[in-house]
Amino acid sequence: MNRALLAGLVRLAITLAVIAAVILAVLIPFALPHDQPGAVVAAFLLGPLSSVRHLGNVAEYATPIAFTGLAATVVFRSGLFNLGIESGVFLGGLAATAAALLLPSFGPFTPLVAIIVGAVVGSISCVIPGELRLRWDAPEMVTSLVLNFAILYAGVFFLNYYLRDPAAGSLMSYRIPADARLDRLLSGTRLNSGAIVALAACLTVGIWLYFTRSGLNLRIVGQGPAFAAHLGLPSRRIIMQAQLVGGLIAGMAGAIQVLGLYPRFSWTQLPGLGWTGIIIAILARENPFYVVPAALFLGYLQVGGDFLARDIGIPSEVVGLVTAAIMLAVTASAIFQHPAVLRLIRRIRRVEAAQ
């Protein structure tokens, strides 16, 4: 498998080179007017590595987006462009909070119960557009996009009327009971057991996709619908299964984010983790095993961006620009499908094969 590895490394190197070029291109105009342009770049690139706590912050950012990246991976693997992950996170967080507040305590299993409730309720956001698509041919991209907002407002209504702490100064739930909150792993950061769950989830889904029959069938249905029909696979059921799993992961992401990081549920806007998940899925080339490194990479960019804002005074919005540019660049087939790149990769494989 040596050649495949080498060819993969070449691809990775090209991807990283493109990303580095993009970051510099966006950052330089902001760095140049600064007295020490070098310090700007250094803060961005080295800041996140400067202490264990900051490394912990990287992992902390990476946790929820690894989940949503994984959810996007599963959903996209089915061939549907379902954007419901965004509200799935919101709904998962809300439902987990509701479970923690309204259900009796289950002792040490309280977080588990809350997460399960969050995941199940959160999955609705992906299942509905999928069902509408398969049953009635309604375009899932649009229905899921709009449904995100409908779910948001329904959720805010629920928060306001059923979970709101009237003594709190803004719209937030009652405090989530301590026994429902997730354990912290690293003092000084909020890195919590959710990070382990995320890692486990990526491995599990990776194993599902690549080492089980049903994962293989999902990949076939998503990437070769005509082949799936040729084989007589139950495509509709497989597609729905992927929407369900993607939704469950998204809901779990929201549940873990809320139970791990917040004392109360206070989202009144969509948290944006679903959109980031799409970026992750693309960066990871829809491979669950690459989701973790991709999420860590984006987490690293985030913390680097925070450094720019906190220590250098460069507005943190710059990170948004960087992220947008990276999204475009890493999907640019003109770069990655360029005949020269393809020839290079093919040659590497040939040379290796000849040895």
Binding site: M1, F211, R213, R219, I220, H230, L231, G232, P234
Partner: protein, 519 residues
């Protein structure tokens, strides 16, 4: 038949309308579609171009139309060399083309389709009156009646074909290319079209006409050029040569066919299809009253020009279409409209003609493609988990057994050449020891050794007792393998022939081309 360039330089008479001068074309993926093709077409004549599937006919015409760049050689028009790479080449030189596949936009009106790309304008708006008048004028002038305001996609195919032709004629066309325009038409429609084309020729238009059907070629054209495997195989005045000579040019030199000993099959057929009809939007898929039986151990070959209904036939027995009438029984069970899963559960296996969309997923590895669809096979699966070790060994054995040339079984399928993809698909489909095998163009585009190998596997399957339906455009292959041959034309079976020594491509030709056997 003269070399175009020489003709242009020293001809005493009028220069030919078109001369191809050592045209070569190698596609980006390495396929050599044309090699040094030279011939010329006298002005104001109807000239036919014949050749097997993949011979390079369409490629040559696309080059003349400016849609593809030749990798070698050049085109001469009226004795002058021209560069096809210029903008709007075809429009400026009055070349119109009716493509093999419709190039109409179904949602546009007839008029809109015809004027698209050269819209008559007035004050920023399309001059609809002028456009309509133009269409009506064209329609009258060439005797092709169409409703200018109809939505193109809702028209019957024959009417759409007329729109295609009008579109091709809409820009002061002097040279009209028709790439298999009759494939979708019924005989009366074809007659009607031909009389229009003769009129056009009278109007001074030079026509290049591609068809697989010799009867059509003969009734329409004056001269014919035959391509084979991208090279010129011959040219003739049709009046001077008999059918069998042309057929020989098309098929190549008659090869000694080493047939397998046809089997005597008796007893109950495994597959019995009676009076089955299939409706479809695409006329090439329609079927009318098909009666077909296949016994266990029997190989039934289906001959026919592309689009004669083979695709419809295959879809009926692979679970992707339901007959509108008639019955399909398999092993005594009613299977009309059964799903693919049910067909497969009964032991159906299928080598599809479209390797990369139906035969596998290009982006998945060889291994994944090789074990796709083996759900529940205990050798490859323990519970929900794939037994990667056992699978690797099995796939490695398959690759070895079928001599699939690949760097490793972890490579993506699309890194393989076409022939190797086909070998892998054959390995997968035959690994299940099917009772019923459908082999659709099993060796199209693959080399002789690999083809022989796949042939052996198909015969092995039959010898194990499988019923085999072999659909192929390769008559050599057909005659090598089949016990019986059915010939299809225009959605019907026009002949059922025992594969005996006297059955030759020449004998099949008239049935395939609709000259014989039509009711």
């Amino acid at each position: 038949m003269t070399d175009g360039r020489d003709d242009g330089e020293r001809a005493a008479g009028p220069a030919p309308a078109v001369a191809f001068d050592r045209i070569s074309k190698t596609y980006a993926n390495g396929t050599v579609a044309l090699r040094d093709v030279s011939f010329s077409v006298p002005a104001r004549t109807i000239h036919a171009i014949c050749g097997e599937n993949g011979a390079g006919k369409s490629t040559l015409m696309k080059i003349l139309f400016g849609l593809e760049e030749p990798t070698g050689g050049r085109i001469w028009l009226d004795g002058r060399p021209v560069s096809t790479a210029t903008r709007d080449f075809a429009g400026r030189h009055g070349i119109g083309m009716v493509h093999q596949h419709f190039s109409l936009i179904p949602t546009l009106s007839v008029t809109e389709n015809i004027i698209l790309g050269h819209e008559p304008g007035k004050g920023g708006l399309i001059d609809r009156a002028a456009a309509r008048a133009r269409v009506e004028m064209l329609s009258r002038r060439y005797g092709l009646a169409v409703d200018p305001d109809a939505v193109t996609g809702r028209l019957p195919v024959a009417a759409q074909q007329k729109v295609e032709i009008l579109k091709a004629l809409s820009r002061d066309t002097r040279i009209l290319i028709l790439d298999e325009p009759t494939a979708v038409l019924s005989p009366p429609e074809i007659n009607e079209l031909f009389s229009r084309l003769r009129d056009l020729s009278q109007h001074g238009i030079t026509i290049l006409f591609i068809s697989h059907k010799l009867n059509e070629v003969r009734s329409l054209a004056e001269t014919v050029t035959v391509l084979r495997a991208g090279q010129l195989a011959g040219a003739a005045r049709l009046a001077d040569v008999p059918d069998n000579m042309i057929m020989q040019m098309v098929m190549g030199r008659p090869v000694e066919i080493t047939r397998r000993q046809p089997r005597q099959v008796t007893g109950e057929p495994l597959l019995a299809m009676s009076d089955a009809s299939l409706a479809s939007r695409d006329p090439a898929d329609r079927l009318q009253s098909i009666d077909l039986v296949i016994h266990p151990g029997e190989i039934v070959g289906v001959a026919g020009v592309d689009g004669s209904g083979q695709r419809g036939l295959v879809s009926l027995v692979t679970g992707t279409a339901r007959p509108v009438s008639g019955s399909i029984r398999f092993d005594g069970e009613d299977m009309a409209g059964a799903s693919t899963a049910r067909w497969r559960a009964r032991g159906m296996a299928h080598l599809p003609s479209d390797r990369f969309t139906q035969g596998g997923v290009p982006a998945l590895t060889l291994t994944d493609n090789a074990i796709a669809g083996t759900d529940g096979d205990k050798r490859f699966q323990r519970g929900p988990f794939l037994r990667r070790g056992a699978i690797s060994r099995a796939v490695a054995a398959m690759v070895e057994d079928y001599s699939v040339r690949a760097l490793s079984i972890g490579e993506r399928l699309d890194s393989l050449s076409g022939g190797n993809v086909q070998k892998l698909i054959a390995a997968r489909e035959l690994a299940t020891e099917p009772r019923f095998l459908i082999a659709d163009q099993p060796t199209r585009g693959i080399d002789v050794a690999a083809a022989a190998f796949i042939h052996k596997r198909i015969v092995d399957a039959a010898e194990r007792g499988a019923a085999v339906l072999l659909v192929t455009a390769d008559l050599d292959e057909l005659l090598r393998l089949s016990d019986r041959v059915v010939v299809m034309f225009a959605g019907r079976i026009t002949a059922v022939l025992a594969n005996e020594a006297q059955l030759t491509p020449e004998r099949l030709g008239p049935f395939m081309l609709g000259l014989e056997g039509m009711p």
